[in-house]
Symmetry: C2
Subunit: 235 residues, 2 copies
Amino acid sequence: MTRKVKGSDPRDGRSTRWSAHREARRDELVLAAVAAIDAHGPQAGVGEIAAAAGVSKPVLYRYFADKADLHAAVGTWGAGVVMERLLPALLSEGTVRERVDLGCEAYLAAIEEHPNVFLLLVAHRVESDADPLADGKAAIAAAMARVLGDTLRELGVDAAGAEPWAHGLVGLGLSTGEWWLTRRTMSRAAVRGYLAAFVWHAFEGLAREYGVDLTDSAPDDPDDPDRADERGGTP
Amino acid sequence: MTRKVKGSDPRDGRSTRWSAHREARRDELVLAAVAAIDAHGPQAGVGEIAAAAGVSKPVLYRYFADKADLHAAVGTWGAGVVMERLLPALLSEGTVRERVDLGCEAYLAAIEEHPNVFLLLVAHRVESDADPLADGKAAIAAAMARVLGDTLRELGVDAAGAEPWAHGLVGLGLSTGEWWLTRRTMSRAAVRGYLAAFVWHAFEGLAREYGVDLTDSAPDDPDDPDRADERGGTP
DNA sequence: GATAACCGTTACTTCAAGTAACAGATAACT
DNA sequence: AGTTATCTGTTACTTGAAGTAACGGTTATC
């Protein structure tokens, strides 16, 4: 069954004294759940997670409405790890192709560190009446849509494609990542090469349709003619 | 729990008389399950599916090892529907861009007819010891890998990227489809345009890296100079 | 001293997946 | 004609994981 976490309507110090503690405790339990999923896989049960966290199930249910809420927290944590590696790479200096390549490398490195958390994030689905951003995938897509949308607006073109392209990009990356983590038939460098090339050519071609040339300049320094040293390319 | 469906080692007519019947019956039950999922959503339980099929649960469990086996059958059915629309479009006459556009249109039309079956297919995961092709997604990716691999080999270039690109393509398509079906913030024509443009530019750029020009010819008739009428393009 | 909310625990409930066990029908075999 | 194999149907039942009730102790605030 599903129900809301007990709401707290603080009236005095006896109740407010616990607010910061509750947030810290919930974060601690999320990290413990992450460790348990890392160790036991995305199909670990609530009892297993509680045991690994050194608490009993009622303690977990004090902080999470249900198993889905706990999974949402783990997936959101995983999305945070991916984004804190991916976004700096995408916004770094360098040509667009370099940044795409760095972004793919950052992404694959992040999911390789926590493969089971990643596989839980990919598989997880929020109920239709829940906050869509409780889904790690949707959180990543929202961040990508913002970056793409801002970029398209800076170029002075229609930004309506940002959201479908962001969701498509997330699907492209997650499905490739899931395949790679479960099959391991090629190296990370090879996967990065194929993924980055795919994304780069999609970006370059879409930009060209809008009249923008991404092939030899960084958007923040388009007047520099000496930027010929490019990484990337299909392995 | 999970166990295999009872194996049948036919010895005489009393047992062999049922073989064709069992296959037909299973197919009938899959279609009934598809109808139930269509009506009640991907989260419909086994009891609900059985009731909608007009049978009791033990009857379902005679033909399916467990709920996951039933879901695999429904997902495989959905993948079959997608592929029987998608593959003819991809292999039709016309330029590559036209075929990509037709493929996206065929795909979105197929998933719009059975949105709940599609959402089940997307969410479904097979256990690690099961046949990977029992997963509808993997079945579609395998078909795409074959088409891409054959195409790359016909071009005389390295086909190693076929598999990661196929999985990436499937992820791109499924994630875009899932987002569109659950959000419906734009028309199917608009989604098709964005998706097709992304895929087309990725293909065109990758092919160009291999020294192949896709921009104005169909691969099966590259000597025809009059093929200038192209569909597609970003909305 | 009373109160609010934390901590711990085990026993317990709930519910959906999955099965046991029964009897009847039909066609193939002996 | 009798036996056998597998189908059909059913309801009651088991299983196991999610989730909760209920209890007492601790600590800081009122």
